[in-house]
Each structure stands twice: as C-alpha cells, then as structure tokens.
C-alpha cells in the first residue's frame, strides 16, 4: 500500500514537472479550466436573478449541488480520470505496450502516468463554488457532514466506474475522444435537483446509472433534505463500479497492440 502511494506521488511529481516546463501554459490552462467550469453556475445564477428558479430549491441550494458536482469532478479528473485520455493516446500511438512491460497493474500505470494537473482548475472551481454556497445556507451539523462525506466518496466510486468504461472504449475504439461527450451528456444530469426530471428519469439516474450521486444526492444530504432512495443509489453505485471493471477487463483482453 505504501509502495502504491509512493508510486502515485512520484507520478504526480513527474506530471507536475512536465507541466511546469511550460509555466505560463500551466497557469493559463488552469485559469481557462476554471472559467469553463464557471459557465453552468453562472447560467444558474442568471436564471435565479431573472426571477425564474428550479422548483423547490433556492439559488444557493442549487449552486451547492453544482459545487459538489464540480468537486467530485475536480478530484477525479486530475487524480484518476486521466486514465481515459491516457488510454486513448497510448493505444493510438502504440505506447500502451510500454505499460504492459512494467511490473504493475496496467490500470494503476494508466492512472499514475495520467495525472492531469490542468484539471486542478476544476477542483479550485469546486472549492470556490462549494464554499460560497455553503456560506449562504444554514451551516450543517456534524451528522450531516459525515453522511455527506460518505456519499461524496461514493460519487468518486461512480466517477471511477465511468473512467473504467471510457478507458475500456479507448482500448478498442482507437483514437476516439467522443467518449467524453458520451460521459458529459449522461453525467450532467447529476448537477441538477432530481425532482425537476420525470419519474422515469429519476429512477434511471438514481438506480440504473447512478449519476445523481455525482452532485444531487450528497448535496441534498448536506442540506438536510436526503434524496429518496439514497440507499438504492449507493448500492447501484457499487454495482456500477463492479460492472465497469468487468467491462474494462473484457476490453483489455481484446487489446491487440499497435503494429510493429
């Protein structure tokens, strides 16, 4: 375990050293990432300021959901979601082979060599949005915080599952970055209060493909308004992770290397 942590820290150190080689590019990228991520909360802000609203949720509650969603992505994108672009890039240019000659699991190597410092902008944005929203709602008690942290960890489990699925596609679907579009179009359901959707959609995002856990479920717990069927969402998140892992393994078995 200590060995694995050391390896991940070395991977982060190397990736940061690579990005620091072009310092201006590093800071500009983080800033741009921050601006891009600020777009949805800005739209939410404008909607509320124009008098409209998401039914049953005040502006800061809605922004808190989006803040949690951004935090979840802000942790997963730099620290492990890089496995997706790393897979696509390496399979396309043939350097995926180099990971197979290392005495570590291929998945671990994909994560270690896929640390993405630019995405720290998402984390920064998430922290800012979460803090601003939190400052404008009644401060939650310890029990709510504990439940929130537990559910937030489950949101990372679902993000990891998505990472596995997209990385799996990257193995067999050579050079196709469209997989990110698939992810965003599904995951974005998690940054809105579930009750704005129809019953069928709610069932789908809480029990089938549990994207509600990415923002709505943990945030509503922190607000003291736990979402219906939270337990089912948690169970379904772990089932999702398990199935994603099976999918990744199946795709990995189909890997045929690049021409030699």
């Amino acid at each position: 375990m200590i060995d694995a942590v050391k390896l991940h820290l070395q991977g982060i150190k190397s990736a940061l050293a690579v990005r620091m080689a072009y310092r201006a590019d590093f800071f500009i990228s983080i800033f741009i990432m921050l601006l891009v991520e600020a777009l949805v909360p800005l739209v939410t802000y404008l909607i509320y300021k124009s008098g409209a609203s998401l039914p049953g949720w005040n502006m800061y509650e809605a922004l808190l959901i989006q803040g949690v969603f951004l935090l979840s992505r802000g942790i997963s994108f730099p620290f492990f979601f890089g496995m997706v672009w790393n897979t696509i890039l390496r399979v396309q240019d043939g350097t995926f082979d180099l990971l197979l000659i290392k005495p570590r699991s291929v998945l671990q190597m994909l994560i270690v060599t896929g640390f993405d410092s630019e995405d720290l902008g998402k984390l920064l944005g998430g922290i800012i949005l979460f803090s601003v929203s939190l400052a404008n709602i009644p401060f939650p008690g310890l029990e709510l915080w504990l439940k929130f942290f537990a559910l937030f960890l489950v949101s990372l489990v679902v993000m990891f599952g998505f990472g596995l699925i997209l990385s799996g596609f990257g193995i067999v679907w050579i050079g196709n970055y469209r997989v990110y579009e698939i992810f965003f179009s599904i995951a974005n359901f998690g940054m809105y209060p579930a009750n704005i959707f129809s019953k069928g959609v709610i069932t789908f995002i809480t029990a089938v493909l549990p994207v509600a856990i990415l923002g709505f479920v943990p945030a509503s717990q922190l607000l003291g308004r736990p979402a219906e069927g939270t337990l089912i969402t948690v169970v379904s998140s772990f089932v999702f992770l398990f199935l994603s892992f099976l999918f990744w393994k199946a795709m990995f078995r189909r890997y045929n290397s690049a021409g030699g």
Binding site: L7, S14, A17, Y22, D97, L100, P103, S105, S257
Partner: protein, 323 residues
Amino acid sequence: MIINVENLKKTFKSYERGNTLREAVASLFVRKTKLVEAVKGISFSIDKGELVGFLGPNGAGKSTTLKILTGILFPTSGNVDIMGYTPWKDRKKYVARIGAVFGQKSQLLWDIPPLDAFNLNKAIYSIPDSEFNKKLNFMVELLEVQNVVKKPTRLLSLGERMKCEFIMAMLHSPEIVFLDEPTIGLDVIAKEKIREFILEMNKQGITFILTTHDLGDIEQLAKRVIVINHGDLIFDNTIEALRNHLGTKKLVSVSTQNPLPKFDVPGVLVKNKLSDYNAELELDVNTMGLNQFIDYINKNSTINDLTLQELPIEEVIKNLYSI
C-alpha cells in the same frame, strides 16, 4: 536454458474496408474479416547469457514474436517458458525481471530530464535507494552521459536519448533484455557506444534478444541469429553458419590487361561489370575451383589484380528473405 518457445502461433483478425467510397460506406455496416497468420508455429530456445539477433523483413512476424515474449500479446497457441514464467500469464512477476528498449517508442518523458523518468522507474520497480544510485552511476559513467541526464529530454540528440533509454530499461537489473531496433537512426559514433555498452552488459551475464534491420548490429554483437519470414522460423544458427549459408560463394574483384572473357561457365555470376577490363563476380568455389577460375581468365586474358572476399552478409539475408 532461459527461454524455451514451442510451436508458437499468433493469428490476428483484420478487417477489409475496401478503397472506394461505396466499399467504405458498406464497411460501416458489414465488414469482411480476414485471418492473418503472423506467427505460424515457431520453436527455439535460448541459453542464459546468449546474445541472439532476431532478423526478418518488415511484416515477417518478429515484432509479434517479441511482443509475445515480453508479455504484451497473448499467442493463439503454443508454449513459452522464460525463467519459469509464462509471460502473458505471470506478467507482473515476469516483467520485473526483464527489460526492453524500443528504438521507436520512448520510455522517457519528453519535457523533463531523463533523471526524472529514472526516478519514476525507481518507484515503479521499487528499487532501493542504494541499489538505484549504484546502478545509475555505473551506467551513466559507462555511457558517458553525466551532464545529459539532467537536461530536458527534448533537448537531447537521438544518440543521447537512446543511451538514456538503455539506462531506463536496465536500472532494475533485468536478466533478459529485449532490444527492438536500438540503433535506428543513430550516427556511427553513437552506434559504436551503444554496441560497446550491450557487449559489456552481456559480459556481465545479461541475455539479449536483438531485433534489428542494421546488419552491422548483428555482425558486431550477435553470436547467434534467428531469421523469421512469413511467420516461419527459417534460420537458427551461428553468425558463421549464416555467412556460409549460401555455400562456398565468394565475391571476386578482377582486373585484366586484355578484355575480360565471357563468363558463361557454371559457378561464375557477373554481379557488376565495371568495364571490359574490370568486373565484380560471384564465384562458387565448389563448382569452379579457384585455380580453375584463375586459369580460365589467364587463358583468355592476363590478370592484373584479383581480390577475394566473403559474400557480404546482406547478400545472405537477401537470399533468406526471398525464400
């Protein structure tokens, strides 16, 4: 015996897309599959400490074989035993004991110094500090790259980069090292240094499997050569046996006082007629003895000069590849 390969086969499924727009669109819905036999059941074994050259034209199946031996690919059938491991089954344990250098795939990190990449490898292989420093200092000195390892990789010459690739591949003290075209694109001096390094490491007991198209690598490094073509193993013997593969043929350069005679006799093949007085010939001394050959020329002309050489290894390889 450190490597034993028995009846190794690998078949790939490939898709035919066609080259017209109609065929390309049709292939989106129905694709014709085609099975390609990249390796057709090869067997060989290699002893500890050997330095074996692996030759074959492009698409012969040698890279596929190497990828199976390094645990990158699963074979379709056959057995491979390397140091007691089956590479694709015991991948993690197995690859901890091998190294690989790919001339066309870098393990270094482009924007940062090789030293940082070495440190990443140190963490990947869990190499203790003292062992890492000892090994690194030894190889840095041997390859004369003391200042090079601290510069960003993108600023290094190809030769300097390749030396660092070797350090990267050998920091964890592998027992077998697979080299895939390690001298590709290098200048003469860099090639020489890399070859010296390989020979030095081989003296220390490391087994090398070398894939290359550079026959200089083979002549200067390998004591044994395996040739693969069309997925079959067509030659497995010493470098001397490879040189003698075309029998007792010699390359003869001859110049005469009078015009050369017509060489329409068995055992002589004109390779290059430079003028009426000078020519390069291929002589099979089994069919026509050397004395007989000299007499034949002197009967018709007078020899001014004559040199006799072994056939260049390229000729032997060309002959093998054309089988």
